[in-house]
């Protein structure tokens, strides 16, 4: 089966106000998918729902073998499996402020996956090198520039090696030249084993780097490849 993610008729309201009304799309394995739509159309919410951070009121989400159902909290074992499948890079990065760049990246591998500290650190340094920020390994999050912080956040998410990596508005804080660097990076990262789903407002960026573009318009998604 070549589909990694299938979202069917996803519906969600908050305090009686509809946020998502019947969103349906599927993603095949590999490549970069851009989820686009006007502000307030629920792009970020879609990512949060897939990451298991929000409950939803209707529809289903199928990730590989895993199915998320509407309603109450997801069962603990489902959430646990989900976290191994999906990574999320937040728009504002949310790095752990008290830890160095390196520790931000090694924390999850050592404590969640039980990787030995030495191996986790080697892998983290490889990731930093691949992202071109190996010289910032001992810096604290508050000492990083916006672009650097984004790369650390990407490295942190990649360290646990999720098949689906989602990114919320990664282009928002980057100037045009930086956006192309990001596009190249994402193109390198995405392969048969890794699919990238991102939200963006940048039409040019999406056209140039995305292999799939999904649009939320009037609360309905349109598919175009």
């Amino acid at each position: 089966m070549n589909t990694i993610l299938e979202v069917r008729d996803l519906r969600l309201s908050r305090a009686g106000r509809p946020i998502l009304s019947g969103i349906t799309f599927s993603l095949s394995r590999g490549g970069v998918a851009a989820l686009m739509g006007p502000s307030g159309s629920g792009k970020t919410t879609v990512l949060r729902v897939i990451a298991g951070l929000e409950r939803f009121d209707g529809g289903t989400i199928v990730l590989d073998e895993l199915t998320l159902h509407a309603g109450a909290h997801h069962p603990r074992d489902v959430v646990k499996k989900l976290r191994r499948q999906v990574g999320l890079v937040f728009q504002f990065h949310h790095l752990f402020e008290h830890l160095s760049t390196l520790r931000n990246i090694t924390l999850a591998p050592t404590h969640v996956l039980g990787v030995p500290a030495g191996a986790a650190e080697r892998r983290a340094r490889e990731l930093l090198e691949a992202l071109g920020i190996e010289h910032r390994a001992s810096a604290l999050p508050r000492e990083l520039s916006g672009g650097e912080a984004q790369r650390v956040a990407i490295a942190r998410a990649l360290a646990v090696d999720p098949p689906l990596l989602m990114m919320d508005e990664p282009t928002a804080s980057l100037d045009p030249s930086r956006r192309n660097e990001l596009g190249e990076l994402l193109a390198r990262l995405s392969d048969q084993n890794r699919t990238i789903l991102l939200t963006t407002h940048d039409e040019d960026f999406a056209r140039r780097w995305a292999t799939t573009i999904l649009r939320i318009e009037s609360l309905i998604t349109h598919h175009s490849s």
Binding site: V86, H93, H94, F96, H98, S100, A108, H111, L113, A153
Partner: protein, 501 residues
């Protein structure tokens, strides 16, 4: 003869001082403490605005003798000397003991009542515990800052007993019955009063020492003192004093003997010891020499303060973390219960909580004084600490918690690895603040007979007759303990600004 906590005392003095300014010059302002109760000074049961007692009648007698009208001012027992010194009132009459220090520092009247320091024991011990030398290795209670306490401090060295200082004259006897102390040394007036109201107490007849009650005036008021002395001598001669003391049921054969000497103008020593030799008090030494003698006990008391504060804080921090975690992560019921606990502990005075734990719970669990003090402070401060931690936990950005969750951390790991460490950094400054506050609040435990720094200073000042040197030393020691704490906290904060790994 009951004493108030220092802060309340200062407040009372301030109130009295404000009131005193408005009074007319023809009044004789006299200070006493109705907390001491009958037969000294007590609020009149039929009119709580009035006071009665033999000290009240002696004040009336002296006022009449100098053609003035008496006006009573409430001053806590332990602060009467200072109130007289600063002119709040002219004469203090409240079972004031005739000590060498008081004679040296103040203008005291001639004695008007002779008392005996007597040992009270449980009925079962009446045969075995007759004198101080029988009390080796045992705890003996008394009122702090009195001749009896000074005698017990000397007896600690001489007979190997342990002196326990109380702030009032009721709890020594109730603790005697509870077995927290094995004897109480106080004057016969107080002992008789308790023997009548509580059963199971035997008062040993042989006195440990004898002394007297005197009126206390400021040295600049020596002429008023001399006039008061003449009034008292006349009252001794014409039987007025005898009438007063008979009325209050405390007349005995010691009084005619004392009065005969005073009428004949013979010298009367302040304190006569029957058992121990050596003088009581420190009046024969210079103040500096006397102060030096107190340094070891002050340092020991500072140790008690420091150990008590550190242990209470450690408990308060642990408990505070648990309460805060419960309030942030717990079920609705747990949150409700913990919020109730926090509000109860914050909304009631710590002094009351200490009383409840030590005296109130004594029927159920008889905690040693230090343990009760530790527990009381820890339980109270835990409520404050928990609020700091709760605020700190909630101050860690939610985004970081969500980032941690998407990485696969369990909630427990999020707390331990991401939320907790950052919350602790936020909490450090207010925690240091609380620890310094606790260091000083620990002085409240003196009501549970724990002698810590402030209490020891008070005892020291009472015996020395001055607050200047003891107060300065006490302040210096508190600062010596709190300043390094602040420095340590700043260093930690600096270190935590650097990455942890």
């Amino acid at each position: 003869m009951r004493r108030f906590p220092l802060s309340l005392g200062c407040f009372a003095i301030a109130l009295v001082f404000l009131g005193a300014r408005a009074s007319a010059t023809q009044e004789l302002k006299w200070a006493g403490d109705p907390e001491g109760g009958a037969p000294f000074v007590e609020a009149d049961p039929s009119d709580p605005n009035k006071v009665t007692g033999f000290d009240v009648e002696i004040a009336e007698l002296i006022a009449k003798g100098v053609s003035r009208s008496p006006r009573f001012l409430f001053v806590p027992y332990g602060s009467i000397d200072q109130a007289i010194q600063r002119g709040t009132a002219e004469i203090g009459l409240s079972g004031m003991e005739d000590t060498p220090a008081r004679r040296a520092a103040m203008a005291t009247t001639i004695p008007y009542y002779a008392f005996r320091e007597v040992l009270a024991v449980r009925d079962a011990d009446a045969g075995a515990l007759r004198r101080l030398s029988d009390l080796k290795g045992r705890r003996v209670g008394t009122l702090g800052g009195t001749i009896a306490y000074e005698i017990l401090l000397q007896a600690e060295r001489r007979h190997g007993l342990e002196a326990v200082s109380y702030d009032d004259d009721v709890h020594p006897y109730s603790d005697l019955l509870l077995g927290r102390v094995d004897a109480v040394l106080l004057d016969n007036v107080l002992a008789e009063r308790r023997r009548k109201s509580m059963s199971g107490i035997t008062v040993q007849p042989a006195p440990v020492a004898t002394s007297h009650y005197v009126g206390v005036l400021a040295p600049r008021n020596a002429s008023l003192r001399d006039a008061a002395n003449e009034v008292l001598r006349t009252a001794m001669r014409d039987g007025t004093l005898e009438r007063i003391f008979r009325k209050w049921g405390v007349w005995n054969d010691d009084q005619p003997a004392l009065y005969a000497k005073l009428i004949a103008r013979q010298p009367v020593p302040a304190v006569t010891l029957s058992e121990a030799d050596g003088s009581i008090g420190v009046a024969t030494l210079s103040r500096w020499q006397a102060s030096l003698r107190y340094v070891p006990s002050l340092i020991k008391a500072a140790g008690v303060t420091l150990v008590l504060s550190c242990l209470s804080m450690a408990f308060a921090v642990t408990l505070g973390v648990l309460i805060a975690s419960g309030r942030v992560y717990g079920t609705t019921l747990a949150r409700l219960a913990l919020t109730g606990y926090v509000e109860l502990m914050r909304g009631t005075p710590v002094l009351l909580q200490l009383f409840v734990i030590y005296y109130g719970l004594a029927a159920v669990i008889r905690l040693p004084a230090f343990a009760a003090a530790l527990l009381g402070l820890a339980l109270n401060y835990a409520a404050y600490e928990s609020e700091i931690y709760r605020g700190a936990l909630e101050a860690v950005p939610v985004g970081q918690l969500e980032a941690a969750r998407t990485l696969g951390f369990s909630e427990r790991q999020v707390l331990r690895l991401v939320r907790g460490p950052q919350a602790f950094r936020i909490a450090l400054a207010p925690m240091t603040n609380d620890f310094v506050a606790l260091l000083k609040d620990s002085s409240l435990v003196s009501v549970l007979t724990v002698v810590e720094l402030t209490k020891q200073t008070q005892i020291f000042a009472t015996n020395l007759g001055s607050w200047v040197i003891p107060g300065t030393m006490c302040a210096a020691i508190y600062l010596a303990m709190s300043l390094p704490l602040g420095a340590l906290a700043r260093r930690l904060e600096r270190r935590w600004r650097a990455p942890t790994g």
